[in-house]
Symmetry: C2
Subunit: 147 residues, 2 copies
DNA sequence: TCATTGTTGACTAATCTAATAGACAAAGTA
DNA sequence: TACTTTGTCTATTAGATTAGTCAACAATGA
């Protein structure tokens, strides 16, 4: 039940862009540096996000990438879907035809509930939620620093 | 976010054994056949379950495997843990030291919630729950047949 | 025109997955 | 005791996936 680095890096990159929303295009290089993602790898994560309509990109000098929608309109479920494919724990949950036991398979029902539980978290979290958490964390860290 | 065949096969095998609880040792061959698991592969799944105290095994003629505890005492979380390792979606959730951003990382918090959601399902499901669901399904299927 | 920046496709080392095969160990039975 | 049955352990393997890296290309602004 692992999330690959694609999902992890992608989420971090999008959080960075959400924090800088309305700043205009951000350089991949900047995202890579501040989020500690290998630039050459990040390039490959950007592509599906642009294709999926989450990012807008501008080539050439003064170019970069930016969110194509406001942070509250981007759900994590969509991000993970684009970067990792379906989050179903087991193929038969989405596609009963792949296994002849599907109809009466009790384990399959459980994997379905697992999927629902995961979906629930990812569907109810937007980039805006991440931004707010981030700000709250920074505030707390700051006040801790003063003490 | 995939479950490997280890977790899937293992769960099916244990459900089979839960259904036959108190029947005495069941042949791996029988489990393999009725749950459609390659026998030579199933052997490898049995080992950690025996080591983990979920199964009891008897070698030689009239041998086989059986549950070491009653089905209501075996949680799915334990099964998956033994067969797949920790269910954490991302290593840093269990082990903050692996990444220097852990302390202020908001995505990490989300992966922690994801883990909790998954845990919640697996911790609250026992083999006995699977058995009951199975029986209910069979009843329903039977009554459908009569109509 | 040139420097900058994203885009695309090819390539790769390392690891993981899902098995398969063979020898071995223990337990019951004739 | 010898033999058969059945689980256990160790290797080996083909194929897929992961996590990158590299080089050539395409668009844009100065």
């Amino acid at each position: 039940m692992k999330l690959s680095t694609r999902g992890q890096y992608g989420t971090r990159a999008l959080l960075e862009l959400a924090l800088r929303y309305e700043e205009g295009p951000v350089l991949l290089k900047d995202i890579a540096r501040s989020q500690q993602i290998p630039l050459r790898y990040l390039e490959h994560l950007i592509t599906p996000l642009v294709a999926g309509g989450i990012l807008h990109s501008v080539r050439g000098a003064k170019g970069g990438v930016s969110l194509a929608r406001s942070p509250e309109e981007v759900k994590l479920s969509e991000v993970i879907q684009l970067l990792e494919g379906s989050i179903t724990p087991v193929e038969c949950v989405n596609n009963p035809g792949v296994c002849n036991r599907s109809k009466l398979c009790v384990p399959r029902d459980i994997w379905g509930e697992l999927k629902k539980a995961i979906d629930n978290v990812l569907e109810s979290t937007t980039l805006q939620d991440l931004v707010e958490r981030q700000k709250k964390k920074e505030q707390t860290a700051e006040s801790m620093y003063y003490i």
